[in-house]
């Protein structure tokens, strides 16, 4: 008989992930010390240039948007007891689907004869194309898992590699921008299809501000004079110039909507019930009338669709005006980070959004370290890939070594705190 009681939900879903995260951060701090840099300085940079900076927050939200999608993709499959590692490839195929439809309407394949549709028609269409692209790429591994029993992990790994080859093939061939043959990327998507981003507002304001600046200059003022006489104007202009490429865009709101939809779908619909039931016990699910292979197949396809949607943020919502294109490196590994996000967020959309924001900000932190570390005094010389190591540690502690922390907390609760923090009801004893 097993005497151990489960942890109280507050401890289980609050304290345990926090401890796991702290462990991961401690190891990274140790790593920074070992390579002879100052971890305090690195944390300072995180606070000043990511958390306290408008640009930093904007970029964090931009990365987080992608991560919410890839995280939910992993989480949905987890609910069915499946492990979809293919987020990277499915995200790429979302991008391929999106770009394919966009290029048709741009007349890329028909010698410039296209339909110049407005954004409110095209953007939903492109979102659907991205979802279908991702779902289509997940469909084959999903089918093989559901009907032929091939291990989804291995097939999706293979499909990531194949997707990378295909995207390179397309970008050096059919999808290639004819004006720029050296660079493997697609033609630039027209501006009316781009998503509204925070930077647009500042770009709009900057028109006025720059006109005013010009008026000041024309009236014979020197630059320091303008700055000293109109501090409010000067600050507004500096902020607008700083923020005009801020990439946080409306697809973050869309991602939140999808997260709510995810919650409703998984916990409030019969399809979600079927998915969770095959995750708990396939035999029981089959006995309960669930078509196990079909549910599996549909889950993987939906999971792929979610991963495919991640590309909308990257292509349509990009902060840089020249980067509204398909690139093979567009996802920058965020498809894999979705696994960490799902683990950290305990497969619940609320947790996923929080974890995505955390990882988004960490991703931005890596960029900041790379860009600004050189100019600090004393220098902070850390490679941005340290964020990848941090992700690995988070995956390790929240995923693979999860029980280590759980057991430790339970041991403390049982032996040192006299049962404080354990759930009220005693778990049913196991029968031999």
């Amino acid at each position: 008989m097993s005497k151990s009681r489960e942890l109280h939900p507050v401890i289980n879903f609050g304290l345990v992930p926090l401890l796991q995260l702290i462990l991961a951060f401690m190891v990274v701090g140790l790593l920074i010390v070992l390579i002879g840099e100052n971890p305090v300085q690195a944390v300072q940079l995180y606070v000043t240039d990511v958390l306290m900076s408008q640009v930093g927050i904007g970029q964090s939200i931009f990365y987080a948007t992608t991560l919410i999608f890839t995280g939910m993709a992993v989480a949905l499959a987890f609910h069915a007891g499946l492990f979809n590692i293919g987020g990277e490839g499915q995200g790429m195929f979302g991008g391929i689907g999106l770009t394919f439809v966009a290029l048709i309407f741009m007349g890329h394949f028909t010698g410039g004869v296209g339909f110049d549709l407005p954004g409110f028609i095209m953007v939903p269409l492109l979102f659907i194309a991205a979802a279908i692209g991702g779902a289509a790429w997940a469909a084959i591994p999903g089918y093989l898992q559901a009907y032929r029993g091939s291990h989804l992990v291995i097939t999706t790994i293979m499909f990531n590699a194949i997707a990378f080859s295909i995207i390179l093939f397309l970008l050096t061939g059919w999808f290639q921008n004819p004006d720029n043959p050296g660079d493997p990327k697609s033609p630039l998507l027209p501006e009316q299809w781009w998503l509204w981003k925070v930077g647009d507002y500042y770009q709009y304001r900057l028109i006025d501000l720059e006109a005013q600046y010009k008026a000041f200059k024309d009236s014979g003022l020197s630059v320091p004079e303008i700055r000293d006489q109109n501090p409010a104007f000067w600050e507004a202009r500096a902020q607008a110039r700083n923020m005009k490429n801020s990439a946080a865009n409306v697809s973050f709101l869309f991602a939140m909507l999808v997260a709510v939809g995810f919650w409703f779908f998984v916990w409030r619909t019969k399809w979600g019930y079927a998915i969770r039931s095959i995750g708990f016990n396939q035999t029981a699910a089959r006995y309960g009338g669930v078509n196990v292979p079909r549910t599996m197949f549909m889950t993987v396809c939906l999971s792929g669709a979610l991963a495919g949607l991640a590309s909308t943020n990257i292509i349509l919502g990009n902060g840089s005006d020249s980067e509204h294109v398909l690139r093979e490196t567009g996802l920058v590994g965020l498809g894999f980070v979705g696994i960490a996000v799902a683990l950290m967020g305990r497969n619940h959309p609320f947790g996923i959004v929080i974890a995505a924001l955390l990882f988004g900000s960490l991703f931005q932190w890596g960029e900041v370290i790379q860009l600004k570390g050189q100019f600090l005094r004393p220098k902070l010389n850390i490679d941005k890939e340290i964020v990848v190591a941090l992700q690995g540690l988070v995956v390790l502690f929240t995923g693979a070594l999860s029980l280590m922390v759980v057991w430790a907390v339970r041991w403390v609760a049982e032996n040192l705190l006299g049962g404080v923090g354990l759930a009220k009801e005693i778990e049913t004893e196991e029968r031999a």
Partner: protein, 330 residues
């Protein structure tokens, strides 16, 4: 004559590439036959490559780098064991974590040690007096200096300074893996741990110990593979140089139905495809009409999916793979 030259150069390039896959695949065979899924082959290869190149640079001896790589990779194998065996964590998640860690750690540490964007310094060449690379066991120049009067085409000299002794070791490792798994009591029990852990437990052997032995061996083999990659195949480490070869090796294990010799054949096939792709990228051969290089790159992966789909025979994984072993009574 041209066709002969082509075949020869293809064979040579296949042989140069395959050992990486073979070492990693044998690591995969050991751990998967013991019931441990090892996605972390990729990461351990990368770590092995980094450690061997770095240590060889500082120590001045390639062999020291090789042993250091084996040791560090064993530690990462134990980490995998700790997560999957002791704490019953998910094998795939643990392996992924190791892969993330490998990419992050090698680049971060490499950047801070050498400030070359994660690259390690070039190791001294094969035929000079340098001991840093592992290409030949003993550098030719050293032998010539040691035994005055030896001619440079002396048989003994050529054997001792044999290029690519690690390539030979890779094929020996296949035989050894087969022997250990199929001809020894250790191997029998190791295989049983992957199929019916309860049976091993009942027989009085420790499932945990055998599984840890498997991840240790896998780590050591990955270390050799990594060392071959960065100190024998080429002369330095570059970030992400394992380039999915660990996954490819895992694919070869599945392709070979978890048997050493078949896995080796899979590695050779993938190596050949890789060589063909390189050949196609460098020159456009007349008879191989304009096949896009990307297509060849994807071919090994497509082949594995086809095998996994059960269209070519059946691929049956060890029965207890990926499942933690919990004793019935503790």
């Amino acid at each position: 004559m041209e066709i002969f030259e082509l075949v020869f150069s293809l064979a040579q390039s296949t042989l140069r590439f395959t050992p990486i896959l073979i070492f990693a695949a044998m690591a995969g065979v050991f751990s998967e036959r013991a019931g441990i899924i090892d996605i972390g082959l990729e990461g351990k290869l990368l770590i092995g490559a980094f450690v061997s190149a770095t240590v060889a640079h500082y120590a001045g001896f390639g062999l020291v780098g090789l042993f250091a790589a084996m040791a560090v990779c064993m530690v990462f194998g134990w980490l995998h064991g700790l997560a999957t065996i002791t704490f019953r964590g998910d094998h795939v998640i643990s392996g992924l974590a190791i892969n993330f860690l490998a990419v992050g750690l090698t680049k971060t540490i490499g950047h801070s040690l050498f400030a070359k964007g994660g690259d390690t310094p070039n190791l001294a060449g094969p035929d000079s007096t340098g001991w840093e690379r592992l290409q030949s066991l003993i550098p030719k120049q050293v032998l010539i200096d040691a035994f005055q009067g030896l001619e440079s085409n002396n048989v003994l000299l050529n054997v001792l300074s044999l290029h690519g002794w690690l390539i030979a070791l890779a094929f020996i490792a296949v035989g050894l893996t087969w022997f250990v798994l199929n001809q020894t009591r250790f191997g029998l029990r190791l295989r049983f741990v992957g199929e019916e852990p309860q049976a091993v437990d009942t027989a009085g052997a420790s499932v945990v110990a055998y599984r840890f032995a498997a991840v240790t061996i896998a780590g050591a083999l990955c270390g050799i593979g990594g060392a071959y990659l960065s100190t024998s195949n080429i002369a330095s480490f570059t970030p992400k140089m394992s380039a999915d070869m660990g996954y490819l090796a895992l694919a070869a294990v599945v392709f070979g139905k978890w048997r050493p010799f078949y896995a080796m054949l899979g590695c050779l096939l993938f190596g050949l495809l890789f060589a063909l792709k390189n050949r196609l990228n460098s020159v456009n051969e007349g008879f191989l009409v304009q096949v896009p290089g990307q297509l060849f790159e994807a071919l090994p992966y497509v082949l594995v999916v086809v095998v996994l789909a059960g269209f070519v025979g059946s691929a049956r994984a060890p029965k207890a793979i990926g499942r933690p072993y919990v004793k019935e009574r503790e």
